[in-house]
Structures are given as C-alpha cells and as structure tokens.
Amino acid sequence: MAGKHTRDDGTIRTLAELKSALQNAIELEHSTIPTYLCALYSIQDGTNQKAVETIRSIVVEEMLHMILACNILNAIGGEPAINKPGFVPTYPGHLPDSDNSFVINLAKFSRESVDVFLKIEKPATTSEPPKAKGYQTIGQFYQAVRIGLEYVNDNTPGGIFTKDKKQRAKQITAEHYYGSGGQIIPVYTIDDAREAIAEIVGQGEGIDDTIEDSDQQMFGQGIEYAHYFRFNELHEERLYKDTDTPKSGPTGDRIVVEWDAVYNMKPNPKMDDFKAYPELLEKVRDFNRTYTLLLDNIHNACNGQPDLLMKGVAMMYQLKYKAIALMNIPVPGTRYMAGPSFEFEK
C-alpha cells in the first residue's frame, strides 16, 4: 500500500501525493512501535530502570507522532487507513519507503537492537535533500512532507485545509490523548501542520546541533534529549550532560545497563512457529487478536470517533500484559522464550 503516489525523486507536488505521503508517515511511525515494544517488554521487571524509562518515553512519543500524522491527514481531507493487513509490517523488514539501508526486527533488548534504534532515529544531515521516498533518515522524509504541504497548499485555491465541520471534528485533541510525552496538536491550518511536524521531528531527532528535543522550546517542558541521544546513552552506557553536543557524545555519569536481565525472546516470531504447541499458539493468537482490535480501534477513532481512544488505551495495556506473559513461556526444544508476533489476525 505504501508509496503508491510517491514520486521517484521523493518530492511531493499534488494533494494525492501528499495524502499518500501522510499515510506513509502513519505507517512509518507505526512500524517502529512493535520494534520498540518488544525491546521494552523483554526487560525483566525491576531491572534496567534507565533503559525502561528511555524506551517507554520514546515509544509513547512514536504513538503521539502516529496520531499527529493522522491529524494532518484528516486536516487535508484524507482518511487514515490503519486496520488493513498491509498496514502491518513484516518483521524483519525495513522502514516503509525508506532506502532499505537497515533492517528492523521484533527482538529483545540488546546491544544489537539499540544499534538499530540509533539508525531509526538518526538525525538528518544537511547534505541529504528532503525525500519522501528512498529517504535515509526520518527527518529527510518529514522535510519533504512539510515542503509538500506548503507547496500544495499554496498552489490550491482556498488552500487544502478542510473547512468541513464533520471532517474537522475528526481531530484527536488533548481531550482524548494524554500522557504521551508531548503535546497533541489538533490541526486545522498550515501553521498547525507545521507545528505538528516540528513536534515529530523535534522529539525524534532534536534541534539542530543540540542533543535536546523541541518540547522545552515549544511547550516549556523540562529539558529532554531527542530520541537518538536518549538511545545513545544506552549504547554508550553513559549519560549526557546538558553541556554535551552531538559531536562530544555523552560525557556524564556512567550508567549500568543490565544486558542480561532480559527475557530471551525468539527473534521475529510468527504464529507458524508455534503450530506444534496449541496452548502457546493460542496465546500468541490471542495477542494478535487484541493487536488487530487495537488497529481497528485506532482506525475508527481517527476516522470520526475519537471517543473510542479510551478503549484503545485499555487494549494497549492488555497487549503489554499479554506480551510479557508470552516472554515467560519457553519455546519447547529451544533456548528461546515466546514473544508477540504482531500479525494481523481477525
């Protein structure tokens, strides 16, 4: 489904291309979530407080970004499509429509998975042009989306932001969304859209040449480092100091990362792997049913029924408990534990 309307040169010139790119943005944000969640849930209870806090805070921001992308798409009259089999990435896989330069997995928390996370969150460099397709960094992708939004809006008489009351009511607002490590921004204008993109990019890769994210500047929140730098603290097993820069790397206190206090989850599990073990298979299937229900729920919430998100939150909590249960179940005949497979299962 991804990339249907995207130009090969990665620029966006029409409303259809823009809608397609924003749908890609939703899929892009979503594709990182199962990856992060597997790492997060694989950490054994009561250990690795810093790693847990880091991944948790980042994954909730990714969820926020996904909803912000839905808000932008709704604002220009699009329809976020979330509950379709093609929406769910296959793991191992690539970031949707990226340059496929690295592989993302469903895997336990480890040095290798943190390496991948750093690649996902790598800040854009000025040498790479904005590109909505074949991008290397997520920042590149969003720059292209922002430029596309401005271009199409400027070149459409009356602009592209909907005035329709019913369509405007599809925005997810602070009433429905909270606790996300950022500010939900309802999008009605090009300025709102710019702010939403700035929020996504700012939290993800930070403000130019600093390690901080944009929330403090935008919302007066306490200083928080951008995703890349927060993961880098785990990678380097050392904290940043406020005076550190991207170049300096972290020079603060050492932290202990307990790489072994982790469930040995089978990498990239599939329901097919558990066919021989009906009790276990049923639990993986049960996880996937809840995951699919959640996608349905978010789809409907972002298509005119925002109140549904309350139930979606309950589903997210259930997913967590079901995933952790799976990681406690040994896969017979292997040294691995089971794990959530994030497959579309009606």
Partner: protein, 148 residues
C-alpha cells in the same frame, strides 16, 4: 529427580488450578512456586526435624502425583476422581494440594505473600476478569465497559 519433579509440579498445578500450562508459565512464577513448595532455599525458621518431615511429605506428594498421572493418562474423569480423592483432602500430604492452589490463586504461602510478583500474578484476579489492585492497571475509563 529434581527436573522431573519440576515438570510434575507444572503438570499438577495445571490440573489443580484449571489454568493450562502455558497460562501458568506466562505468569513467570513456575520456578519460584516450585521452590516455595519444595522449600528451596530452605526456610531458616524451620528446625532440622521440621525440614526433614516437610521434605519427606513433599517427596510422597510428588510420588503420588506421578502415579496418579501415569495411571490415568487416558481417562480424564478418572484423573479428576483420583485428584479429588487422593490429593485434595486436607489429610493428604498436609493439605499440600490445597496450599498449591492457594499459592497460585493468591500468591500467598501460609500467612505470607511470597513476593511482590506473586501478589501481582495471583490467578484470582484473572479469574475475576479484573487485575490485582495497584498493578497491571487497565487504563483510563476501562472500568466503564465490561472487560475486553
């Protein structure tokens, strides 16, 4: 014998609690509870005599479990009868079967909570289609609709 006993423990726990083995494994408590039942590490408050008596009792219990499972492999209703008659009475093995059920359902062994996770993983909360108070929170507003 130890490994064998641990397997027997999981097997009989499933039959006693009504939760299947994967469900029990999913709590992450199998090893802790097996150690609790088998009294490993041994309770410092027990006298040597008490320890020996307990060890013997646990040994008899697992032998009985082993033979019940072997004898009734094919007949579910006979298996149930054997458990009811030979394990469930308080007079059988110091009421160990009932203690094991209580352990799984409540997380308590005697008057004590085994540990924080034992409380959190108590099967009674799952059975109530709820969650342990103060843990595994279900999220804002979840209580306003029936359990998912």
């Amino acid at each position: 014998m130890a490994n064998n006993r641990a397997d027997l423990f999981l097997e009989i726990s499933a039959l006693l609690t009504g939760f299947n083995k994967a469900e029990l494994q999913g709590t992450g408590m199998v090893a802790t509870y097996y150690n609790t039942v088998a009294n490993i590490p041994q309770d410092p408050n027990y006298s040597d005599q008490e320890l020996a008596a307990n060890e013997a009792n646990v040994g008899f219990f697992f032998e009985e479990v082993n033979s019940i499972l072997k004898e009734n492999k094919k007949d579910e209703s006979k298996l149930q009868q054997a458990i009811a008659g030979r394990l469930m009475p308080l007079s059988a093995y110091n009421g160990l079967a009932q203690s094991i059920i209580t352990l799984w359902y409540t997380g308590s062994w005697g008057a004590n909570v085994v540990n924080a996770q034992a409380y959190i993983q108590g099967l009674m909360w799952d059975t109530a289609e709820a969650h342990p108070p103060g843990a595994k929170q279900p999220g804002f507003g979840s209580w306003s609709f029936p359990p998912l």
